[in-house]
Amino acid sequence: MSKIGVFVCHCGENISATVDCAKVAETAGNYDGVTFSVDYKYMCSDPGQNLIKSAIKDKGLTGVVVASCSPRMHEPTFRKACAEAGLNPFMCEMANLREHCSWVHEKGEATTEKAIDLVRILVEKVKYNHSLNEIKVPVTKTALVIGGGIAGIQASLDIANTGHKVILIEKDPSIGGHMSQLSETFPTLDCSQCILTPRMVEVAQHPNITLYTYAELESLEGFIGNFKAKIRKKSKSLDEKLCTGCGLCTTKCPVKKIPSEFNEGLGKRTAIYVPFPQTVPNKPVIDRKNCTYYIKGKCKVCEIVCPTGAIRFDQEDEIVELEVGAIVIATGFTVKQPDFFPEYGYGKYADVITGLQFERLASASGPTLGEIRRPSDGKVPEKIVFLACAGSRDPAKGIPYCSKICCMYIAKHAMLYQHKVHGGKSYVFYMDIRAGGKQYEEFVRRAIEDDGVNYVRGRVSRIYEKNGKLIVNGVDTLLNAMPVEIEADMVVLATAGVANEGAEELAQKLHISYDPYKFFAEAHPKLKPVETNTAGIFLAGACQAPRDIPESVAMASGAAVKVAGLFSQDELTREPIIAVVNRQAPPVYSSCVGCFLCVSACPYQAIEKEEIKNRNGEVVKSIAKVNPGLCQGCGTCVAFCRTKSIDIQGYTHEQMYSEVMALLNEY
């Protein structure tokens, strides 16, 4: 039999001005199961809380209803008071007599009647409350960072510096990402590699970081604090322990004409190669698709010249199994290629290039050693045109968003061009200038005012070749839509920043959400930008949306702090308002029939299949099981289950039924 205590608060005059609190307490005292009912001026004050605590101890109360303000205000206060008096905190419920009653109705009998009803329904609910204990989940204090660009590097260093182990995996042969391809960064015009390579080396040398390059995520299981990841280390055809990075093999390899990915197709590389000289780790990789040995079974020059005998042609991919507690995704982005644009030549014109390709031309270690030259004939362009918003902000092309960084890098590219090609003329066709960061607007102004870049507000409708020149047909909207035609030597398209190929597949492996553009989804657009809806998996950098370097670094550090916070405890505690599938004695085991429709209804993929085995080890039945680490307590599965086998603590079938029935019984 329940022994419930009802405590009606006056809240000073906030409640008692319109509600007859004494009457509410008196009426409640007459309900079946209520053994103690009082009203008091300030329940949340120390004396008020002591009133509750002493009632629990003296009267042996099994449940408490505090009729006062909103539970969103003081539920933790009163639950804590109950816990201190020895009553399980989840046996305490609150009736909202203030926000939902006294503050919104006039003084009168109807208002007091409503207050009485609200107390009654919570009394009926509490009769079906169960003692609940917070859930504890152990935590493996190792982090997995996927992606070795600037965001992944920053996150790895930050986590490693808190004393926890990090495993960083990168699918390319080297870490560094797009930042390593840049020549200079805005707005400081710092040499990109100069600021990046020390970080890359720090990662390689950090005692807490294990680096796997040329490796990808194969599969992921588990949940926050307890992930099991399988990594596929693609075979480099190399024994990394023996290789000293001398580079002899790359100089002697006879296959020299493969388009270099690092140089965005503008330069060539060999079949055994390092992507760029400052590669970390400094070990080459054999590109098996283009290596003569793998295609025809001949050559092996690299093996012959290698001074340490490190080449291993028969090496296979290796699967590494890891146990990690948190994952940071920093897989970055890519840009659209010119072949996406029919109006700009479908990629046919060699001199219509992307912003990243221009970076490689401008870079001192690039295919032209830092000289801006046309890819077609190697001549220095006298007139160069930059197109902003190539693909971005264009719903017709399926990319309605702004790629954020292009206005800045176009200004940068135009400035670099003007610095390198004295007397050259540069034009930028733009729609708007988005330069919102620190020193960004000033940077763009310098391009226009100091370096003489011609900014034309208008779009380009067509580019075509004529007599060896690229004819750019645009318009100047600030001069009344006057058509503008430029005979350019080179055109740089600021193509849209888009999600990587394989982003969707990776998101599905990780069970995280992604938006229609395949950028990974954050948990809340304003207040949770580095978390995903999957507990324990965090986001950093451009994989979530196009962004520049300072923002990527900030986000990476933010994700690192979240991981460090997670690792600061040995166990995670969570509120026990979660769903549970019932279990019964054999041979029934559970009223669940194993239809698993709840599995697809759960927003957090928190429901798994559990196989019930008999004593002989044979599978008797498959039923649903809720993972307490992942369930967030929404109850969608509960309303969905036909057999009502799954129930949510705190809002059980019995509780909600008794609330509704009590509401109207004496209404």
Binding site: V593, G594, C595, L597, R642, H653, Y657
Partner: protein
């Protein structure tokens, strides 16, 4: 059906299956289900236009499953039920073999449930003329008239639950009416309780009912409860583009589209 009998004999004889579920001659001019476990009993198997009972209701019953692998003589509605049951993990290729009977009464044996699904997806679930008329009549009534119609139709229901027993999708061994803590739906025949029961059942069948009319055929009072599930079928088509049983398991009610359209939420 000669092919069916021959095949059933082979399957039992080679122990490829342990029981063949089919139709046999019953009392009077009715047919009933038969569970053939011995090769000689296979001669009892028949198939004609009277065979409309949905045999898929048996494949979830413990007494049948514990015999071993089952084979089932399946017309198109039965095949649909089987695919729906498979999408809810109640049957699979290991415990069930489907001997399909096409709409023009030919025997087709399917090597796997995937083949059954391909066959089933060739046909849309259509509501027949007579029922369309009935539904149309109800649409034209006023709300009060409809209420009176259903309360009166359902009043004689004495809660025999034959509809539940005959429906292949009602395989839950603890049905929502069996729940008494709390008692959601009253047990005895009761004006409102009867409506609640049939409403609840129609809701639990949303997205799962394949319109076989087994519930209506089983009802001793011929109450047109299949109109409720047919209405759900039509609504599913109108609001969500309809559904087909599918092994992929994209259930109508456990999935959603962010742009589901409605006109009543303020």
């Amino acid at each position: 059906m000669v092919d069916l009998i021959k095949r059933a004999k082979e399957l039992i004889g080679t122990s490829a299956v342990k029981v063949v579920i089919g139709y046999e001659q019953g009392t009077g001019n009715k047919t009933r289900a038969v569970f053939v476990e011995k090769a000689e009993d296979a001669d009892k198997l028949i198939f004609d236009s009277r065979c409309v009972q949905n045999l898929a209701a048996y494949v979830t019953k413990k007494e049948v499953r514990e015999k071993g692998k089952m084979a089932i003589a399946a017309t198109l509605p039965v095949m649909r039920s089987i695919i729906q049951l498979a999408s809810e993990f109640q049957v699979n290729d290991k415990n069930l073999l489907v001997l399909g009977i096409t709409p023009d009464s030919k025997l087709v044996e399917f090597a796997s449930l995937v083949e059954v699904e391909t066959f089933v997806h060739q046909y849309q679930i259509e509501i027949d003329e007579r029922n369309r008329e009935m539904l149309g009549k109800l649409e034209k009534m006023t709300r009060e008239e409809r209420w009176k119609f259903w309360i009166d139709e359902l009043a004689p229901c004495f809660k025999c639950y034959a509809c539940r027993a005959a429906c292949p999708m009602c395989y839950c061994h603890r049905c929502t009416v069996d729940f008494n803590q709390p008692q959601w739906i009253p047990v005895p025949s009761h004006e409102l309780g009867n409506l609640e029961w049939h409403l609840m059942r129609a809701i639990h069948l949303t997205g799962r009912c394949i319109d076989c009319d087994a519930c209506y055929n089983a009802c001793p009072l011929s109450i047109p409860i299949n109109l409720l599930t047919k209405k759900m079928l039509l609504d599913a088509k109108e609001h969500f583009g309809g559904y087909q049983p599918s092994l992929k398991g994209d259930h109508l009610m456990s999935t959603y589209k962010p742009d589901d359209k409605e006109n009543f939420i303020q």
